[in-house]
Every structure is written in C-alpha cells, then in structure tokens.
C-alpha cells in the first residue's frame, strides 16, 4: 500500500490524481479462510484488522452483504465518549478512547478524531447527583470528568435557554473533555484500507445464507458467492444479529429497533462540543461541514426498516429547541434511520457461543460507533484465543442467567423505552 503523505498528495496533484491506487481490493472469495468475519461494518473491519495485526491470523475474509460501511457505522451521529457509570462500561470504552487518539496514524487515514468534549446537561439537583455518581465512577477509574454548575455551562453554550421560560432549567452538567466525534465513513474506510493492506479479503455483496456445523463445531459458511470453509466465524452484524443467530438455532436477549438521526443545513460554527439534554433524549453536535447533527429516542417498536416516522423526529427536535431556542429557525436537511441491536440490559455482548468457533459481537444499542476500535480489538482477542479479553469478560452472554447485568439506565427489559 502506498502511504498517504504530504509528498504523495503533492505528487498526485501535479499529475491530476491519475495515479492513486484503489483503497482496497475487490477480490473473489477463496475456498477457505482461517477466520471469516461476517459484516463489513466498523466492528467487522476493525476485528479483521486487529486479528491480522496482533493475532497473526493472515488468511481472513470479511463478508459484507451490501457495501462496506453501509450499516450503522455510516448512519450514526459520530459521538465518542466513555462517560459511563458501571466499571465494566467505562473501562471498556475508555480503552477505546485511548485507541481513537492514535487511530489516524495507526491506519494512515485521517478519521478526524476530534476531542471537543461531551457535556451531559442536568435539569435538577437529583439528576446532577446521578451524574456525579457517574463522573466519580469515571474519575476513580482514571477517566477525566468534571461537574459543571449552571454558570460554567452558560459559558460553554450561552445560546441555550437560561431564561425563566425554560420548562426544565439547566442546573449543571457532566463534562468529559476528551469526548467528541470522528468522521464515521473514514473509520470504515480507514480500517478497510489497512486490513486489505495486510491481506484481509474484503468481499462485498456476499450474503451469508447459512452455516456448516459438524457436531458442535463450525466448519464453514454458505454464501451468495458459494461455500467457504473456516473454523472460526465472527458475527459482527448489529441490526441483523437475530436473523443470523436464528440460522444457528440461537435466540438472543436482543430486539431490533430503529433509531433516527437528522442534520440541519450547514451553518457557521455555533456549537463546539457534543451536548445532551437531560430532560429528554436529545443530543447534538456540529459537523466540520457546519451541519447540526442531532438524534434522540428510538421510534419505540421492533423494526428492521431503516426508516422511522416523523413524530419521533418532532419529539426529538422539540427537546432540541427546548434546549437551544435558536435552532427553531434552522432547517432540517436530511433524516435517516439505523437498526439498533437493543440488548436487555443496554450493554453489548461479546462472547463465544454454544457452537465451537462461532463468536458473537452484538447488542450495541445506540453505542456501537464509539466502541469500534476496542470492540474490534477485544473481539479479535476472543476469536483468536477462544476466550474473552479481560475487558469483555463482563459482556458475556451468561450474565442474563447469573444476573450480573450492566444496566446503566435501570430500565430493565423494556428495550424500547430509551
């Protein structure tokens, strides 16, 4: 792979960019692979990359039913954070934050990691105390966090509603300074290019239709491009997990729900970091292009349609204007939906399965994008070593039997109540 550098840019500019090579190959599948990763999204691509890089599996394929990066890695609101209350979560995601910091250089691809801070607003003392519990948990694990008062918040977002007119006044907030955003497509493409460079076959438009299992061990997968032999299969198909699991006679503690997001027309810099509204589920950041990127609640019923309905957008934007009254005059440019693997305790599942050689990476709820690097790393470990990485031990499937749940919200199994 020709490295991207200032030199290569200038050189190519001078001959009108005729010599750039393909970012990744478009190979036909081989007969057999050491490991097959199903799903060419962020997590699948990252998993393959780390398998090749740290666990010296060389003969790896990624099977993507559509085009890589077409699922949630290309549909999310690009937020990066590790501001969780439970140790299992904040330690896991914090490892991810460390990886984000170096990812552009690691991949030689600018993923535009931008730590502009994430601020969770509180609208009562009780909520501020709940955030304090979360922030203290982070701090005791060495993760930076700060509790801000109303006036400190006002300095950061003066155009938020600090008037008498606010239905739920701002009391303060929890700030994670290194929280921020990254360019979602670049993450998928960067991992794809780097994985391809290490010999990983990225096979697009290749849908998996079934598995070959021989007395409890997986021996291959059946695909739209023929059968492929392998002893290790990793499922990285958030949004379709239950469908593939069914082919393995597995049901999972997961429901599929649609989550919508939207962007406004681009405007000059208004909001620097990421802000979440505590009296609802509105969150907002501004992209480098100037678009306000906004999201919030699930549509609230099982869905595999990558489309939602307007009342949810209305509900979310109502919260947005309650927080930032000036948003009212901006225009919504685009709305879209993605399918969330909503797990029954709101936390992910990274584990082995009852079938030898089949590994599971799912249940990311709305939180998958920020986990891309650490999910890839720990899942690669789980696949290569046939045992979980210390960071994903808590995310094993059996917690739904033992009761060691990781429920950040305390909402239990009503996954559709966000």
């Amino acid at each position: 792979m020709k490295k991207y550098s200032v030199f290569s840019l200038v050189k190519n500019a001078l001959n009108h960019h005729k010599d750039w090579e393909v970012a990744w190959r478009d190979p036909e599948p081989k007969k057999e692979y050491e490991a097959v990763i199903i799903g060419g999204g962020g997590h699948g691509l990252a998993t393959a990359y780390y398998l090749a890089k740290y666990y010296d599996l060389k003969n790896i394929a990624i099977l993507e039913k559509g085009w890589i990066g077409g699922g949630n890695v290309g549909r999310n609101t690009t937020i990066l954070r590790s501001n969780y209350m439970h140790d299992a979560n904040n330690l896991f995601y914090e490892q991810g934050m460390q990886m984000w910091r170096d990812l552009s250089q690691e991949l030689n691809y600018n993923v535009m990691y931008s730590p502009r801070g994430i601020l969770n607003l509180a609208h009562s003392d009780a909520q501020l105390n709940a955030y304090a519990r979360r922030g203290n948990s982070m701090r005791l694990n060495g993760i930076d966090a700060a509790l801000l008062g109303r006036e400190e918040v006002r300095k950061m977002i003066p155009f938020a509603d600090f008037t008498e007119n606010a239905r739920f006044p701002i009391f303060g907030g929890l700030l994670q300074p290194i929280g921020g955003t990254a360019r979602h497509d670049a993450v998928a493409w960067g991992y794809a290019r780097a994985a391809d460079d290490m010999g990983v076959d990225i096979i697009q438009h290749c849908e998996v239709s079934g598995f070959d299992v021989d007395n409890g061990k997986v021996t291959g997968v059946q695909t739209s491009k023929g059968n492929i032999k392998t002893n290790k299969v990793g499922l990285c198909v958030a949004g379709s997990t239950s469908i593939l699991a069914e082919k393995l006679n597995m049901t999972l503690p997961i429901e599929a729900h649609v989550l919508q997001a939207c962007v406004s027309e681009p405007v000059k810099p208004l909001l620097d970091g990421v802000v979440t509204f505590g009296a609802g589920h509105f969150y907002c950041s501004q992209s480098d292009k100037g678009e306000m990127v906004m999201g919030g609640d699930l549509d609230g019923y099982n869905s595999y349609a990558q489309r939602g309905n307007l009342p949810t957008i209305q509900h979310v934007l109502t919260e947005g204007v309650a927080l930032f009254p000036n948003l009212s005059r901006l225009k919504i440019l685009r709305t879209w939906g993605g399918i969330m693997d909503m797990s029954m305790d709101g936390s992910p599942i990274i584990d082995k399965t009852h079938i030898d050689g089949v590994y599971l990476n799912c249940g990311w709820c709305y939180g998958g994008f920020k986990a891309t690097p650490v999910s890839g790393l720990t899942f690669a470990h789980t696949i290569a070593r046939n045992e979980p990485h210390e960071l994903n031990v808590p995310f094993k499937l059996d917690r739904f039997h033992t009761g060691h749940l990781i429920d950040e919200k305390g909402l239990g199994t009503k996954t559709w109540i966000s």
């Binding site: 239950s242 019923y301 009503k414």
Partner: protein, 88 residues
C-alpha cells in the same frame, strides 16, 4: 406515524398507544416449577424476527385496553390486530 386499528376503537394514530413488546412470550404459571432456562427465556430472550411479529400494544390514551398486533418489522405493515383472547 403508524395507524393502528384498536380492536375496540378502530383506526387511531400511534401517539394514542404504548408499545408492549413481543406478545409470544408467555409468563409461566405462578407457583409452578420453572427451569432456569425457561425463566431466563421468559425474562430476556426474544425471537426478534425480521418479518411478521406478534406484539402487544396498549391503547393508553384511548380505551386503555391491551391487545395484539401482527406487524411486519421490515415494512411496518400491520397485517392484523386482535383482542387478547384471539390469535392470528
């Protein structure tokens, strides 16, 4: 906004209803012996099909009745709605 035919009130817009999830999970009988696996499945495990899904809705801002809906999770088309005692 979905339009849901409440078996009692007729077609109403979604914002009168609350969702109730998978209608195929059946609560085990009280005071009965239940294996760990059966109980775990009742509490946590869902078929989560892509396609027709039998689910519960509650007409919470209407007649406050719970009822069943057979809905396609890929298209959101509603095939049938029925009272609790009925089946598709």
């Amino acid at each position: 906004m979905l339009e849901i035919k409440c078996p009692y009130c007729g077609n109403r817009s979604q914002n009168e209803f609350a969702y109730g999830g998978d209608a195929t999970v059946k609560r085990p009988e009280l005071n009965s012996e239940i294996s760990d696996q059966d109980w775990d499945h009742f509490v946590y495990y869902r078929k989560n099909p892509r396609g027709n899904h039998l689910e519960l809705w509650h007409h919470i801002s209407g007649c406050r009745q719970w009822f069943k809906v057979l809905r396609n999770t890929a298209t959101h088309d509603i095939i049938q709605t029925m009272e609790m005692k009925e089946n598709p």
